[in-house]
Amino acid sequence: MEWALGLVALSCVIALACILLFLFKEGEGIIGIVGLGDFFFGKSWSPTSEPPSFGILPLIWGSLMVTAGALAFSIPMGLALAIYIAEVAPTKVRDLLKPAVEILAGIPSVVFGFFGMVISGPLLQILFDIPTGLCALNASFLLGLMALPTIVSISEDALSAIPRTFEEASLALGATHWQTIRHVLLPAASSGIICSFILGMGRAIGETMTVLMVAGNAPIFATSYLEPIRTLTATIALEMGETVKGSPHYRALFAIGAVLFLMNLFFNVVAERMREGFKERFR
């Protein structure tokens, strides 16, 4: 039975290796066609016009913009929720809040997208008097909501993992509850909390369906959150269907996939490092 488990584990690694190999093999061709500089720093993404242009800078800009927007929304809110659940809330409220946040994580992204198109989009349109509610702000808001469960549950775990003695010592020295949270608990849990931010960021940058539906998908350099933007993920989802296998457009989309993979890998490695540091601390 044990060897069967090993086999299953191995097949998972092999699947990952195959996906990676495929991603890079199909994608690297575009560099030879348009050049590294024009691919990463080209300012125009217009793959179906004649002649086509494959600059992914506006797409990277779009991805970074919504991710930053999502974090600006989900970090303060997530941290506040985590502190409240871990330290302040009475048991009854905590038993209600924790599952509520977890349910938020279980809502399919297409439902968030639909909500954005039908409710928050038109609302933003009236609120800011903009021509369309499909914009970076709408996408940021929804992605922030989607990253919230990640941030709350990991931060809350980090706060709860701090030995009880820390809090007791602080209170015994005469510090108030709030002073204890602010000066003892938060610093002690900081690496876990930062790790939750990074994982939440990974969630926001990789999300596809919701941004596809609510961000408007115009591949421009937006200078304001009230303008539409296009992310890396949405580009792949929008255009993969039409590309002829092996064409430059097809290769460019795979290369975008590789770029996304590297970005997420980077965030995950950083988060993992921090988590290790966090474990070391209380040995």
Binding site: G121, A218, A237, G241, E242
Partner: protein
């Protein structure tokens, strides 16, 4: 564990036996409602045949036909030279069937006072030369250009009929389905978009193009300029159930369905 294997194998085998013949249709989201309804009716006549219908866009369907992952490709544009060549290399020449006609309706928000525009104006809007409704005699409001994604046959047909050589403005919003375009235009005051005639509802206002309102009559008469045939492609001359299915779609019954879901019969 071993006790379960026996019955499980029987079940799996029985599943294969019952499944009988299979038809897989894939492609254009415009053709999708026709394919879907026809498949439902066809299943009633031939309960032993297993039909699955998938969307994804014309390009996806044609790529599937070439790769052999589907038997019929639904398309809202004719196959490209490159695609036919690829099919030949796979050892077959795709067979084309015109199964319906469709008009692309140009839609705006219900409150838009404009009744119609010329193809030239439409081109100017979609290429980004006109960016405000004022230029066309409307209110002072920025135009929100909504386009389909480049994987859709509707996008390609619209580009060919309206934009011709011009580049689509980079400011255009891209939406991934007819329904999404409809919803976006219905919810944004300054928006303009285009959808298949079958998806037109009272939530938006359809514009006259070159003075002609999109309708069954104007498309059949050939006066409405934004129209196109819809296709199904098979791997060479169709045989067996695939042939029967195509015949069903082209039959009186099938063409009635085409009308019921909002398109215009092929003949």
């Amino acid at each position: 564990m071993k006790k379960l294997l026996g019955p499980l194998a029987v079940l799996v085998l029985a599943g294969f036996a019952l499944a009988g013949e299979r038809i897989v249709l894939q492609g254009s989201t415009t053709v999708f409602p026709i394919a879907q309804r026809c498949a439902e009716e066809f299943r009633r006549l031939h309960p032993e045949v297993n039909i699955s219908v998938r969307g994804g866009g014309s390009g996806v369907g044609i790529a599937g036909l070439i790769d052999g992952t589907c038997d019929i490709a639904d398309a809202s544009r004719p196959m490209k030279e490159k695609e036919i060549e690829k099919a030949r290399r796979q050892g077959f020449t795709p067979k084309e069937f015109v199964i319906a006609r469709d008009a692309i309706a140009v839609i705006v928000h219900r409150t838009n006072p404009l009744e119609g525009m010329t193809l030239e104006d439409l081109k100017k809007i979609y290429s980004g030369q006109i960016t405000n409704w004022k230029a066309l005699g409307g209110p002072h409001r920025r135009i929100v250009v909504v386009s389909r994604d480049s994987a859709s046959g509707t996008f390609e047909t619209f580009n060919k009929l309206v934009l011709r050589e011009a580049r689509l403005t980079p400011r255009a919003l891209y939406q991934a389905s007819n329904k999404a375009v409809l919803l976006t235009v219905a919810k944004s005051k300054g928006a303009i978009g285009y959808i298949g005639l079958g998806y037109l509802t009272g939530e938006v206002k359809a514009l006259k193009v070159e003075g002609v309102y999109p309708s069954r009559e104007t498309v059949l008469k050939g006066t409405y300029p934004l129209q196109r045939p819809l296709f199904m492609y098979t791997r060479g001359e169709p045989r067996g159930v695939v042939r029967e299915f195509i015949q069903f779609v082209l039959s009186e019954r099938g063409q009635k369905i085409v009308e019921e879901v909002g398109f215009i019969p092929a003949k």
